[in-house]
């Protein structure tokens, strides 16, 4: 058998294989197609790492260390599928789908959790304790509370002596309750003799506990403490759990700041998902209808190819583990419009060839051939835009660029290869024989046989 005899079955086999593979890879849909944060709710946080006195330069090693700490902290939060990745050499992207308490997650990321012990002068301790009660009282004027907040956040720390012991020297921390049922954090020291020496020398003085420079409490040292101690302040149970978690996870090696944030509530995401799916279904439906109305039988074939196109695109999404975002859906919908563009180019060309008096078979062959340069133009110019956008675009726009890029690549295959296979099959089997099936009247065939050429 010659190649020409095998060509058609071979092409059919390729198409069937592609369709089967696509269906296999997208089932079950709910598990295989990952929805972006904007569609299922969640937080996307971009962290910038800033050098500190101890770590003057952000190297990839520092980035890796920071990532590890963040990883441990996020795990402590119990988020289902967190994703933490490096961006450049001084940024870390944290994505938390379905995070229940986004504020807590944010806090955990930037909190340095530096626990510091300082000997606090009595007047400073008094002032700081008073400030804490002011902050806790919402009925006081905002201005007073702001001043109190400033003192608690930094003033007390600056007014006290040097750091005598730090969180780095703690072995393990655990959230618990004190004898009166108040939540507290119990810790064990790494170096009992040093802590013992420190407490012995300062009996009767106030040992201030500062978390990230923030005044927590300043209990009086009643006696020597060696291997374990406790921190209590006005903590809620949740806060003690976080604090213990942070102390255990270790401090972030550098200062971090959230420079970009996107937090979407789950209900809002669901609304967006439903709306955009409805919009794409409408768009797809109208395009399918348009093709049938304008191009009749070949239009129907193009629609079949378009259905395969949608299947393949979903398979691309499933296999690449890309998440489907809102802009991604927009890119997908737009690429549907562009996928049929190729068919419009080809069918218009075939029509012209029919008008020019060619036979159906010749018109189809020449139409596909001559339209290819235009089809290639349209795909290439779109791919350029999408490719550049994918490389340089920011955050959410990347999702758009991704689906548009792959949509354009896949549509080159479906609109040219698959549609051509369908049309050829019908022409070869004498189904598509009359120009009426093409939406042009028999009397119009050959009307331009002389005019144009």
């Amino acid at each position: 058998m010659s190649w020409n005899n095998l060509k058609t079955p071979f092409k059919a086999l390729v198409i069937i294989a592609v369709v089967a593979l696509s269906i296999w890879s997208i089932l079950p849909i709910a598990q295989k197609i990952h929805l972006g944060l904007d569609l299922q709710g969640g937080s996307r946080l971009l962290l910038q790492l800033y050098p500190t006195e101890e770590v003057p330069r952000i190297t990839t090693q520092v980035q890796a260390q920071t990532r590890e700490v963040i990883d441990r902290r996020i795990n402590g939060l119990g988020v289902a599928e967190p994703s933490i990745s490096n961006v450049g050499t001084d940024r870390i992207l944290v994505e938390l789908p379905n995070v229940k308490n986004p504020d807590e997650a944010e806090r955990v990321l930037k909190e340095v959790a530096v626990l510091a012990y300082k000997i606090v002068p009595p007047d400073v301790a008094q002032k700081a304790t008073a400030a804490l009660t002011v902050i806790a009282n919402p009925s006081l004027p905002a201005k007073d509370r702001a001043a109190a907040e400033a003192y608690v956040a930094n003033g007390a720390y600056d007014a006290s002596g040097p750091v005598v012991y730090s969180g780095k020297d703690l072995k393990a921390a655990q959230a618990g309750f004190d004898t009166s049922g108040q939540p507290n954090v119990l810790f064990q020291t790494k170096d009992p003799s040093r802590f013992g020496k420190l407490t012995t020398a300062n009996i009767g003085k106030l040992l201030g506990i500062f978390l990230d420079h923030r005044f927590v409490e300043a209990p009086q040292i009643q006696g020597a403490i060696f291997d374990s101690g406790e921190i209590h302040g006005t903590f809620t149970e949740e806060q003690t759990v976080t604090l213990a978690n942070e102390l255990n996870a270790g401090a972030l090696p550098v200062t971090t700041k959230i420079i970009e944030k996107e937090t979407i509530g789950p209900t809002l995401g669901k609304i967006d998902l439903v709306q955009s799916l409805r919009a794409s279904m409408l768009g797809l439906g109208l395009v399918l209808l348009f093709m049938i109305v304008v191009y009749r039988l070949p239009g129907l074939l193009a629609d079949a190819a378009l259905a395969i196109y949608v299947l393949i695109m979903m398979a691309v999404l499933a296999l690449s583990h890309a998440t489907l975002t809102l802009p991604g859906i927009a890119g997908f919908v737009l690429s549907i419009g562009m996928a049929v563009d190729a068919n419009v180019l080809i069918f218009e060309r075939i029509k012209e060839e029919l008008w020019n008096g060619k036979s159906m078979r010749a018109a189809v062959r020449v139409g596909f051939q001559r339209a290819f340069s235009a089809v290639f133009d349209s795909h290439f110019t779109t791919i350029v835009g999408a490719g550049v956008l994918y490389m340089l675009g920011t955050g959410t726009v990347k999702g758009f660029a991704f689906t548009l890029f792959w949509g354009t690549v896949v549509s080159l295959f479906t609109a040219v290869f698959i549609t051509r296979f369908f049309v050829d099959a019908l022409v070869d089997n004498d189904v598509l024989t009359t120009p009426e099936l093409y939406g042009i009247k028999q009397s119009e065939v050959g009307i331009f046989a002389k005019a144009g050429t």
Partner: protein, 438 residues
Amino acid sequence: MLFRRLNWNIVGWFRIVSTISSLVIALGLGSMIYHGFQGGQGFQPAHMLRLGLSFTGGTDIAVKFTRPTTADQVKNALAGLGLSEESVTTAGSDGTGFVIQTQTAFANDSAPMWNALNTVAPVDRAASSITAVGPSLGREYLIRALWALIIALGIQFLYIAFRFGWNYIFGLVTVIALVRDAAMMIGIYALADRRADDAFLAAVLTVIGYSVMDTIVILDRIRENTKLMAGSPYDVIVNESIKQTMTRSFNTLATVVITLVALLALGGASLKNFAFALLVGIVSGGYHSIFFSAPLVLYFRKRQLEAAMKRRREGLGADRTTTTRSRSESTALQSRGGVPREDIVAARRERRQKAKTARTVAPAAPVRYRKKRNDVAGGVAVEDVETGEIEAIDPLDAQNAGLHEAAFEQGHEEIKLNLDEFDEPAVQRDAGEEEKKP
């Protein structure tokens, strides 16, 4: 829809078409300059187009309260935060949804914002969202966006040069159409006072690609028809080309517009913004490629001719630096109705090849022409037996097609031409006479 059967003189509308699109662009530019003066500190280029928060840094909050309230109450609650350029708009009709935009970035710590909002009414965080970008990051994103634009334009220009390298007019026209589409989008955004965000950038890049391909398809057809209709005046060729590709242009436009309208009608707020930008750009792209680009080719061709004629006049006068070659070329170009010599040579060669193969493959089929009139100058007048149309056949073709008698009758001698070394005066004569044809 059969646009090619319509008796439209699209190239004749060029003046109106270009005026309309120039007017829109001028209006946009005007409003950009107007915006530039807003703010009271003289002219500031940064104010010309409102940029989205991803480029300026800032916060965008969609808040849902658990009970209805008013925008004023929300504004009052936010007053203590010292926001810059804040705006509060209602979203939805039940008075619980609001959109707050400000240039103050609450990226690192959004607690003050939520706390302030909670004083108005309890916030339903599950149905609310916040997007915040730090100011330095916004600047970085803006620079990256500009780079993306430059790189994409660069690649498109390279592609245009690759496609039309031999014809600088086509390249220039494609670039002009592309720039106009981008200018239309920016202008309408300035007019509508919308924020140009990263979705706008995505739309611009998509539209640029669309515009280039749309223009290329039409210009390709002109190139094709220049060979097929080598005898016709250039404006007829251009007009035919537009009409032939018009259905295609409209249908491709329609499929994309359909999907965009669906997004605009049913999509959420962010999708609507994006669909709007794309719709403006793609409709503008379609408008320009159909009604503007192709006629612009004609315009440039005419300019080229006039310049050539001027050079020739000057050359005939004092300026002896003009070479005989360029002088003869300018005359030839003028007389050929602007069809470049290369095209005619190519068309000739193609037809000669066809005639040759026709002769060798099917010598049995005689060409059934009969002589009708002698007054079709320059060519051999023949009538197509089937259609009754009079056609002027190039003497060379007549010779090749075996119509020697017809050629001789008109006083043409058998021409022996080496087409590889194209003979200038020959073309000058026959093309010049062709132009006089009605």
